[in-house]
């Protein structure tokens, strides 16, 4: 393992300290327990609280700021945060109009957020994201995983909350964006958890893991690497089938948002190459891409690979996607801090 680390045990703290210093105009870091909040807390709006294991940066801390999250609770690498983090953060922010938890659907995250929500007295709701179309038999297992679609949920609901949407409306919109989003990823390499010191899984030089999760959890199948065009074709067919199973018409909308997300070990040039493949194939199928994002938005430590997320855009989602946002990792619309 070769990483920029002082002591493995201090990896997350050291990194968060740097993050907080680099963005001290926007965020504030609390150390015991660990949570990150906006610099200027607005206790009159619905408080958007997310969190999860670290290693997916910029998710979630990078999305704190006006128009997106209020609080993020980072856990250890790939390990959900503990309930005391969420409870302390909420006590610190003193929200007057309720708390919306945005939680990726993993057993650990679900249970820790559930314990936190049982221990707070303020009004709260939870949006569980589960956009990963790779997981099959979802009624049989603990369900689909929350992956890069979570960023879209956080952006869109963040906008509504900023504009004064109440808890019920925020919850409803969050559930809708999640339903309207589908993701599928493929890994070219494993990733190495600092404390483990070795790769999470073995993968041959000529192999890819199709349907991988953002923690290096194995996906649908291990297969030989092939042309990007063919991998994109496989990804698209999973996404199309998923929308079909959800009875959503991918063509009958205001177009889609296409997010090509890197897991952080793949260069932007390759991500744009994937974007090109997907956009050509979408165009041939009559699917209109009206918004795009390409980059490392939901990562898996040092894993090489990428995922695509498609989100159907109705007028409401499109409006809130386009609205101003000012966070360390997403900022547009010339909004003041």
């Amino acid at each position: 393992m070769k990483k920029f680390i002082n002591k493995t045990d201090n990896f997350i703290i050291d990194s968060l300290k740097g993050f907080a210093k680099a963005h001290d105009d926007l965020v504030e870091l609390n150390l015991d327990p660990i949570f990150v909040t906006r610099k200027k807390i607005n206790s009159d709006k619905v408080l958007l609280v997310s969190g999860g294991g670290s290693g997916h940066e910029p998710l979630h801390t990078g999305y704190i700021g006006k128009g997106m999250l209020d609080v993020a609770c980072p856990g250890h690498v790939f390990t959900s945060p503990t309930p005391d983090q969420m409870i302390s953060a909420i006590e610190y922010c003193q929200p007057k109009n309720g708390v919306l938890f945005i939680v990726k659907n993993y057993s650990g995250d679900v249970m820790n957020f559930e314990m936190a929500s049982e221990m707070i007295s303020v009004d709260h709701q939870t949006v569980l994201t589960n956009d990963d179309a790779a997981v099959i038999n979802s009624s049989y297992t603990s369900g689909r995983r929350g992956v890069a679609g979570t960023v879209i949920v956080e952006k869109v609901v963040g906008s509504l909350a900023e504009l004064g949407g109440d808890l019920t409306a925020c919850k409803k919109l969050g559930d809708k964006v999640n339903l309207y989003s589908s993701s599928i990823g493929a890994a070219l390499s494993s990733c190495t958890i600092p404390a483990a010191g070795k790769p999470t899984f073995e993968i041959g030089d000529d192999e890819i893991e199709f349907g991988v999760g953002i923690h290096g959890e194995p996906g649908r199948k291990r297969e030989k690497i092939k042309e990007a065009s063919l991998i994109a074709e496989d990804m698209i067919s999973v996404i199309l089938k998923d929308f079909e199973e959800k009875s959503l018409n991918i063509k009958d909308s205001n177009g889609v948002l296409l997010l090509v997300n890197g897991f952080s070990g793949t260069p932007l040039s390759e991500l744009y190459l994937i974007y090109n493949e997907v956009s050509e194939k979408f165009s041939a199928k009559g699917i209109h891409i009206s918004r795009s994002m390409v980059g490392n938005y939901t990562t898996a430590l040092d894993m090489a690979g990428a995922s695509i997320t498609v989100c159907l855009l109705d007028n409401e989602i499109k409006k809130h996607w386009d609205s101003a946002v000012m966070t360390p990792s997403l900022r547009w619309g010339n909004e003041d801090v």
């Binding site: 390990t79 503990t82 309930p83 314990m115 603990s142 995983r145 483990a196 899984f201 999760g213 194995p218």
Partner: protein, 207 residues
Amino acid sequence: MENDFIIKCIDSVAQCIIDREDEIESLDRAIGDGDHYINIKRGSSALQSIKPELEDIPTNEIFKKIGMTLMTSVGGASGPLFASFFLSVSKHIEEGDNLQKFSQAFALGVESIMQRGKSKLGDKTMLDVLIPVSEKLKVLADDSYEIKELTKQIDLVAQASVKATKDLLPTKGRAAGLADRAIGHIDPGAKTCQLIISTICYELNKT
């Protein structure tokens, strides 16, 4: 149950986890995401650091402190599950309870894990060790077995049940994404539960 004995078990379990690092890690890398050992070790070290606080408090308070410490240190899925177990036991145990009472509290603790994790027997989780152990404990406690014989039998049940998780299809947690690719692998959460139970049996046997 004496405080000294619980404190002794905290040390022995922590040592056992460290001794079995490679085994736990390789199981988790095979069907999980490789963080189970790290999380469990963080929990067992956190418990060692609160030992002085456990010396002079009632039994139920010990279990509560253990539960809260695990809840705020472990994270992941195992954190809330272990925490739910100890917090539930703390509500159903009293100073000077006999083995029969303890086995009832243990069973309720296991039930709280089932509720928290929305899991049942056969899901390839820690419950596949805890449920058979809990049932055996109840039978043996009701029949007031000698402690040596009881620990031997509990240990055997734990060992056999952890092996049996090999053939199970995972439906919960990160391993679920693997489906039948996980068959043939022992569940790491079940393994750590077996290690903890076997260690406590070993300590009981020495008393």
